[in-house]
Symmetry: C2
Subunit: 517 residues, 2 copies
């Protein structure tokens, strides 16, 4: 199994179907496939050998999807770089995965200098934009124009296909390794679970460097249908694209969905082409869901619960979103285990807990990652006896429906992005005026959760919010930096000296129905 087989199938059966739409630019599968095969040849000509890592640092675009398939077609492994990251984070992922070529678009040219200065091994930069190519970089378009299309390298099965970096509990990002097999399973399973009868047009607005975005793109490739790309979320722009391109399928995080339906011009657009809406990454407020369903009456809503390590885990189908599902509470569930997936809720000793009680959600299935790149210890912690330990607390009803109730990992999910407290704490602790600190999630109306820091200054030291915030921004992405900072004389500690985070959280979460927003 190689993910490129899906493209071969489209080139053969529906060469004239539209493959990608980006702003005014559209190309057929035949044209797309030709560019992919040339790009593969070009990447090989500048040194990509089988298994080599190639990074893509760019917003969602047709070129992003060309890079995805082009790297695979040429035998490489994709490292989809998180566009929200700071230079030190980007460099960490490039160094860690030994990424030798970095494709970069207009939005991130300002990062090049910093990467050059800090990277252990400076990658070859390939500029994928429409302006003259900056000095010291190769041109994506010129490479494609000059290259001959090559044969599909047909890397397959357990061969590594991509490394997706995600926050790390130890303060460093972890590279989640997926093979062609696991990606195939993620894609075909989602397609079987949410079939798209007839032709479909999917708008990718959730970032492709995340599992949510790339997983949805895989579904569309396997089905052989049209991809529309949006470089960033803007509610008005999304509605304009849906209307113009007759988009049938949308995947949004709850904050995006909310922005869409509450937009003052919501009624000005014809969204009648929409058939299916998948939401996920973070839980949705019931009021938002109800309002969305009322505003988009012809649309089937599905809640998808998953993570970078495995794509999908459970999904809550449209039938649980109806009046009955809302009355029974099933609309608040994350749904049942997906096809071919086993889910279990366990206590600290790994024993299954009785129905209705909270345990850590563990799962196994064909979609589980190979492990974390170069991190055998973290891999051993996450994968035990074939089970993936998700770090999420959940309870299950008699019908096997899962309700996520708590996060056991010390992690914050803000606007769909995972932030590990340890990573932020490490950065805060580097400031010379800080004696101790703890980072927790607090509820946030727009982002679900926000990063909150509780800080103890060194005796006699001066430090305020603004200074500490600037300090953080130098090391980590903006979404990981504390949105609010609180100074205290001391942190509440357990007898063993561990910070009592539960106590810190309590004040903020009083009156909320669950400790995960």
């Amino acid at each position: 199994m190689s993910m490129t087989l899906a493209l071969q199938r489209s080139m053969q059966a529906t060469p004239d179907r539209i493959a990608t739409v980006f702003h005014g630019r559209r190309q057929t599968f035949n044209e797309y496939g030709d560019r992919v095969a040339r790009l593969a040849g070009a990447l090989q000509s500048i040194g990509m050998r089988a298994g080599d890592r190639v990074g893509m640092l760019g917003v969602n675009s047709d070129r992003w999807l060309e890079c995805l398939m082009g790297v695979w077609w040429g035998g490489g492994v994709l490292n989809p770089v998180n566009t929200r990251w700071s230079v030190p984070e980007i460099v960490y992922s490039l160094d860690d995965s030994d990424t030798t070529i970095l494709v970069i678009d207009d939005h991130f040219l300002s990062r090049v200098e910093g990467i050059r200065a800090a990277a252990r091994r400076v990658p070859i930069f390939v500029y994928a934009g429409d302006w003259p190519t900056p000095e010291g970089m190769l041109s994506f378009e010129e490479l494609i124009a000059a290259a001959k299309p090559v044969e599909d390298a047909n890397r397959a099965g357990a061969d590594l296909a991509c490394i997706l970096y995600t926050g790390g509990t130890t303060g460093f990002p972890k590279g989640v390794m997926h093979s062609h097999w696991t990606l195939w399973s993620i894609g075909i399973q989602r397609l079987a679970q949410t079939p798209m009868p007839g032709e479909s047009v999917a708008l990718h607005v959730a970032p492709l460097f995340h599992m949510g975005g790339i997983g949805r793109a895989l579904v569309q490739f396997i089905a052989g249908e049209t991809h529309v790309l949006a470089p960033a979320f803007d509610a008005r722009e999304v509605m304009a694209i849906v209307e113009r391109e007759r988009v049938t399928d949308l995947l949004l995080v709850p904050t995006m969905l909310q922005a869409l339906i509450t937009h003052p011009e919501f009624d000005c657009f014809d969204l009648s082409s929409l058939k299916r809406m998948v939401y996920g990454a973070s839980p949705i407020a019931e009021s938002v869901l109800e309002r969305a369903m009322a505003a988009l009456p012809g649309v089937a809503f599905t809640h998808s619960y998953g993570m970078t390590e495995c794509g999908g885990v459970t999904s809550n189908p449209p039938e649980n979103h109806g009046p009955e599902g809302r009355a029974s509470g099933l609309s608040r569930s994350a749904g049942r285990a997906g096809y071919g997936i086993a889910v279990k809720l366990v206590d600290d000793s790994g024993n299954e807990v009785p129905r209705g009680e909270v345990g850590e959600l563990i799962m196994r299935g064909p979609n589980v990652m190979l492990g974390y790149w170069n991190k055998p210890e973290e891999t051993a912690r996450a994968l035990r006896d074939g089970w993936l330990y998700t770090g999420d607390g959940a309870r299950m009803d008699e019908g096997g429906h899962v309700f996520i109730v708590d996060r056991l990992k010390d992690m914050i999910v803000s606007g769909g992005e995972n932030v590990y407290s340890a990573e932020v704490e490490n950065v805060i602790a580097r400031h010379p005026a800080v004696q101790a600190c703890a980072v927790i999630a607090v509820p946030h109306a727009q982002w679900g959760e926000a990063v909150h820091a509780v800080v103890v200054r060194k005796p006699g030291a001066q430090l305020d919010d603004a200074v500490l915030f600037e300090h953080c921004k130098g090391f980590i992405a903006g979404y990981k930096c504390p949105k609010s900072i609180e100074f205290r004389e001391a942190l509440p500690l357990t007898a063993a000296g561990k910070v009592l985070k539960r106590e810190l959280r309590e004040r903020h979460w009083a009156g909320q129905s669950r400790q995960v927003s």
Copy 2:
């Protein structure tokens, strides 16, 4: 990935849903899962270790499906024995695969003595029936009753899951090896391609020892829906079961479908529950298809083209079966490549032929077998550079639709069963009165094709049809024995001394639209 995860999911989410129905006997997924876990323990207690082969020789039944999952749950590999085989053929498959345990039902007890006498290593016989257990055999029911349920062994991924024996070009059956991965891909792909929205009830009447039958059962397990089992095809009985169990899904070979719709009591049964009909294994006469679609107006028809080595290859969806599809000729197509599958038509040198021209159909995808058990040379012939060579000749239109036109392998498909000419020729040649022979396919109204032998007697030797037919029956299954025998003075030969089978066939196939029925 282990195929048992699908069962775990059903036991968790829908324990009270009906898992199997066989005659009057029905059990829930909870009951079924309990019996599976006990059977697994029982098989381990009589010596089954991880990877050991266990044979199942029986008609379709609930116990057959218990054996399927029980062997996997306990860590074993299933050898689903072809029930139409003669004792020497059965023994060949048991010996070849080193099958140590053979589960056998009432219908095949007469074979036990012969197997005992001929097997290199006599297997442990487990009697899966409702009568007193014959001497020298263990009882399936007593084993289950006495055993404790064990934990799922969770064999997974590339671990061998089953060996399906199919006819061999060299005259010996070949054991097609499938892993949990390839079976998962076969099942989930079929489910994605032919979704079953809502609850479904599938009637398994095509034999489970064939890929068509076992593959359909995997779909049903992955979806977590109900299996109804019929021990043999009887048109009236199938209609009675559909009416009684409100069956929604049927998979039939064309001869079965024809028998159903032309049955004198067709109008006496309520078949309104039927939603989907998949037909395959051999081509269908247009008149039969049209009559079937007229007789079953609410049913979506799908043609599935596949083989033991890979499950599905292409499928022709319901939309091509409508008036437009019939007018354009698409209803006669085998459809396009399935999700994730690449199909290519090549000439003798492996180069792709232009659209519209006939070439050998080759394919690659996540569903392709690991290879043939213990047959590296046959494996190397079938799997080249990752492509499976099917031996079928086909042409392709501009839309990627495949039309099967010829069989390049010297094989006959009679009533959905593959018969390799070489195997039958070897048996005929053993008769002392035979000097030369050639076995070919001739058209047959009911079975599509029939086995026909052209025989040259030794000078002065006596031999007639009846004697030669009896001789064949001693070695091979009835369906492989010639249905007609023709004696000649000599066979037409090529310059190189090869039999010119095309010439032998011509007379029989004159006036037929294609050389494969």
